[in-house]
C-alpha cells in the first residue's frame, strides 16, 4: 500500500487536513501523519512516497482527493496540484534547516523514525564527551536565546552547572505568545523528540534530573503531540532513570499555562510553574542561580533547546559557520499576517528585511503594497519599506530601535491604520501586564487614554509629547520586557508613520 504523508500541524488542520487524511485512507492509501514543512499557502500539502522520492500535492481539499487519486496521485501522477519533490520547491530549497530538518518529514510519534533521521546523535555524543565539553561545545557554537533576549546559551548553562545545589531544573519555555510566531508549536507538533533530546543534553550538562515544559493552553495540539512523544521517549529509554543506558536520570513533565502572555517572561513563568500568579521577579538573582523552587534552573526557549542536538551531533563549527556578525547559526523566520508565502523559513542570520518580505514572502496576500512590517511580536517595532535594508540579526534590529524577538514577521498592507496599531499595543500591555511594576500597569492605561485624545484630535502636539515622555518612562522604568518594550511598536508607529497621528479631526482644534 502506498504511504502518503498528511500534516497534523494545527495550521494544516485549520485548513482541513483531517478531512483530507480521512478521504485518502478511504481511497486505500496508508496515511502517515507528520508535522508541517511550513509552506502554508500549499497546506494541506500531501506527500506521496514513490520510487523517485516523495512527491508533493497542494493545497489539497478533501473534495480534491478523489480526482487526485483518479489522476494517479498515489504513483506520483500528473495533476495541476502536483508540486514535485518538496525539497525542490524554491521556498524549501533556499533554507538551511538545522533545527527543522525533520519537521514535516518524520512521524512525530515514532522514536524509531526520529533515530533513523539522525536523532539522538547529539545526546549520544554529549554522553560520550561529558558535561564540561558539552557546555564548551554549546558556547563555541555561539547559540543565543531564541526566545528573543539573545543571551548566550553556553554562559547560562555554565552558570547553572557551577551552582551547587541538591536539585537543578531544566525548563523549556513553550509559552509562545507573540503574534506572528509559531515555530515552537510547529516543532512540538512536528519533531517533539528534538526538544526532548535538547533538554536531556541540558540536564546532563548542568546536572539536572528533572525538566519542565511550560506550554501555553492555546496550543492543545502541541500539548497532545508532546505528551505522546514523552510517552514514547519513556518507553524507548530516552527518558527515565537510565537515559540511553548511561546511568543518568532525566525525566520531563509538561505543564500547561492558562492564557497569560506575561508567563512567556522567564521569571513569571517560574512563578506560574510554582503554582502562583505569573508575576515578574526582580533580577538578580538569575534563574540559573536561584530559579524554580529556589534551585538553579536553566530556562530556555523551545527553539534554543531544540537547536542543541544539531550542535552536538555536527559540531559547534558547523553551527557557528552560518550567521551574521554576533548572531550565529540559524533562525526560524516566521512569515505571517498579510503575506502571500506565509510560513516558516529557517536560515542563517543575515537576510535583509526586504529579502524576507518581498523575495521569500512574495509580497502581500491581498496584492496591495506593503506599508508596515512588525518584527518580533507585539513588543516589536513597525518597520516601513524605507527600512527594508535592515539586516535580520539581533544587533542590526536593536540599532534601529527594534528587535527580532522570537522571529515573527507580520506584514500589513496600505490599509493599516498605524494610530490604531499604536493604541492596540497599549491596550494589549494593559490587558497582559502582571501588575507588579507601576510604569507597565499604570503607564499602559494612561497610554491608551493619551492615544485616544490624539485620535479625537485634542491637543495633538501636547499629547504626542506626553506619549513620548510616557514611553521613555515605561522603557527605562519597567521591571521586564513587557512594559519595557511596548514603547517599540508605539514609538515606531509615531516616528515612521507620523501622518496617521494627524487626523482630519485635527480641524476641530
Amino acid at each position: 500500500m502506498t504511504r502518503v504523508f498528511v500534516p497534523r500541524d494545527a495550521a494544516a488542520l485549520a485548513l482541513g487536513a483531517e478531512a483530507v487524511a480521512t478521504r485518502l485512507a478511504a481511497a486505500g492509501a496508508q496515511v502517515v501523519r507528520t508535522g508541517s514543512r511550513g509552506m502554508f499557502w500549499l497546506e494541506p500539502m500531501v506527500e506521496v512516497e514513490t520510487p523517485a522520492g516523495r512527491i508533493a500535492y497542494g493545497p489539497v481539499r478533501a473534495a480534491d482527493v478523489d480526482g487526485l487519486v483518479a489522476a494517479g496521485m498515489l504513483t506520483g501522477g500528473a495533476h495541476p496540484l502536483r508540486r514535485g519533490r518538496p525539497e525542490d520547491i524554491p521556498f524549501l530549497a533556499g533554507q538551511t534547516r538545522f533545527t527543522f530538518a525533520r519537521c514535516g518529514v518524520v512521524d512525530p510519534t515514532s522514536l524509531d523514525d526520529y533515530c533513523a533521521a539522525g536523532g539522538l546523535k547529539g545526546l549520544r555524543r554529549a554522553l560520550e564527551i561529558g558535561p564540561a565539553a558539552t557546555i564548551s561545545e554549546v558556547t563555541a557554537s555561539g547559540l543565543r536565546g531564541r526566545g528573543g533576549a539573545g543571551f548566550p546559551t553556553g554562559i547560562k548553562w555554565k552558570t547553572a552547572a557551577d551552582a551547587v545545589a541538591g536539585r537543578k531544573f531544566i525548563v523549556a519555555n513553550a509559552d509562545e505568545g507573540d503574534s506572528g510566531t509559531f515555530a515552537d508549536r510547529m516543532l512540538m507538533e512536528g519533531d517533539p523528540f528534538a526538544l526532548i533530546e535538547g533538554m536531556a543534553i541540558a540536564g546532563l550538562a548542568v546536572g539536572a534530573t528533572k525538566g519542565f515544559v511550560y506550554t501555553r493552553s492555546e496550543y492543545p495540539h502541541a500539548i497532545a503531540a508532546f505528551e505522546r512523544a514523552l510517552s514514547a521517549a519513556r518507553a524507548g529509554g530516552l527518558l527515565g532513570t537510565d537515559v540511553l543506558g548511561s546511568g543518568m536520570a532525566f525525566d520531563i513533565e509538561q505543564r500547561v499555562g492558562a492564557g497569560a502572555y506575561i508567563c512567556g517572561e522567564e521569571t513569571s513563568l517560574l512563578d506560574s510553574l510554582e503554582g502562583r500568579r505569573g508575576q515578574v521577579r526582580a533580577k538578580p538573582p538569575l534563574p540559573a542561580i536561584k530559579g524554580l523552587f529556589g534551585q538553579p534552573t536553566v530556562i530556555n526557549n523551545v527553539i534554543t533547546l531544540a537547536s542543541v542536538p544539531f550542535i552536538l551531533a555536527e559540531g559547534a563549527a558547523a553551527y557557528h559557520g552560518v550567521g551574521y556578525g554576533r548572531s550565529r547559526g540559524t533562525m526560524p523566520i516566521q512569515l505571517a499576517g498579510n503575506i502571500r508565502h506565509a510560513g516558516l523559513f529557517e536560515a542563517g542570520f543575515g537576510l535583509t528585511l526586504g529579502e524576507i518580505v518581498e523575495d521569500l514572502g512574495a509580497g502581500t496576500a491581498t496584492g496591495r503594497p506593503v506599508r508596515a512590517v512588525q518584527v518580533g511580536g507585539p513588543l516589536g517595532a513597525y518597520f516601513p519599506p524605507a527600512l527594508f535594508d535592515t539586516v535580520f540579526d539581533y544587533e542590526s534590529f536593536a540599532a534601529r530601535d527594534g528587535l527580532i524577538g522570537h522571529g515573527g514577521v507580520v506584514v500589513f498592507d496600505d490599509t493599516v491604520d498605524m494610530l490604531a496599531q499604536a493604541r492596540f499595543a497599549m491596550e494589549f500591555c494593559a490587558a497582559e501586564s502582571c501588575g507588579k511594576c507601576t510604569p507597565c500597569r499604570i503607564g499602559s492605561v494612561r497610554g491608551m487614554e493619551v492615544i485616544d485624545r490624539v485620535l479625537a484630535g485634542r491637543d495633538v502636539d501636547a499629547n504626542l509629547e506626553l506619549l513620548r515622555d510616557l514611553c521613555e518612562t515605561m522603557k527605562f522604568g519597567s521591571l521586564c520586557a513587557l512594559g519595557g518594550f511596548i514603547p517599540y511598536p508605539v514609538m515606531s508607529a509615531l516616528v515612521h508613520f507620523p501622518e496617521d497621528f494627524r487626523r482630519p479631526a485635527l480641524a476641530a482644534e
Binding site: 495550521a11 509562545e176 503574534s179 509559531f182 497569560a260 523552587f293
Partner: protein, 156 residues
C-alpha cells in the same frame, strides 16, 4: 464539546486530591476543575486553599490572574477568535464585528440559548493562516464570514 458535570463538592475534592501532591499544584488543579465543571466554581476555591495550605484569597488571586480560567459556566460551544496583530493584518477586526452581530453577543458573553460563548484570544499560533479561530478546540484558518457561518452551523 464534552458535556460538563454540574457542581459536586465530592467530585471536586477527589479531583483536587489526585493532584495536590504535585509540586506547584495550583494550575494543574484549576485546569482539572475547569475540565470537569467547565469553569472554576467559586465553591471550589476554599477546597483548593485547604488542600494546598493557602488562603482563599491567594487561590482566588491565582484563579483570577489567568484569562483562561472561567468563573461562570460556558455555553455548549466555545468560539475563540484571535485578536492579535497577524490576524488584524488580515481583517480580523471586521470579521469579529460581524461575528458579534451574528451571535448577538459581545466578548466573554454567551448566547441567550446557551449555545455559544465568544472568547477573544491573543494568538493561537495560526498566524500563517490568518484570521484564525478555534471552535471547541478545533482550529479554524483563513476565516471569513461564510467560513464562520459554516463552522457555527453545527452549534445550534
Amino acid at each position: 464539546m464534552g458535556a460538563h458535570a454540574p457542581w459536586n463538592a465530592d467530585r471536586a475534592a477527589s479531583v483536587i486530591a489526585g493532584l495536590q501532591d504535585r509540586e506547584g499544584a495550583a494550575l494543574p488543579i484549576l485546569h482539572a476543575l475547569q475540565e470537569e465543571f467547565g469553569y472554576v466554581p467559586a465553591e471550589a476555591i476554599p477546597l483548593v486553599a485547604a488542600a494546598l495550605n493557602l488562603t482563599r484569597a491567594e487561590v482566588h488571586g491565582i484563579a483570577t490572574f489567568y484569562h483562561e480560567f472561567r468563573r461562570t459556566p460556558p455555553g455548549r460551544h466555545v468560539l475563540h477568535l484571535c485578536r492579535a496583530e497577524a490576524c488584524q493584518a488580515m481583517g480580523a477586526d471586521r470579521l469579529h464585528a460581524a461575528a458579534r452581530r451574528r451571535l448577538g453577543i459581545g466578548w466573554h458573553e454567551t448566547t441567550a440559548d446557551g449555545a455559544v460563548s465568544l472568547e477573544p484570544v491573543f494568538c493561537l499560533g495560526l498566524c500563517a493562516v490568518a484570521p484564525s479561530g478555534m471552535l471547541d478546540g478545533a482550529p479554524l484558518g483563513r476565516l471569513d464570514a461564510a467560513g464562520l457561518d459554516a463552522a457555527l452551523e453545527g452549534t445550534r
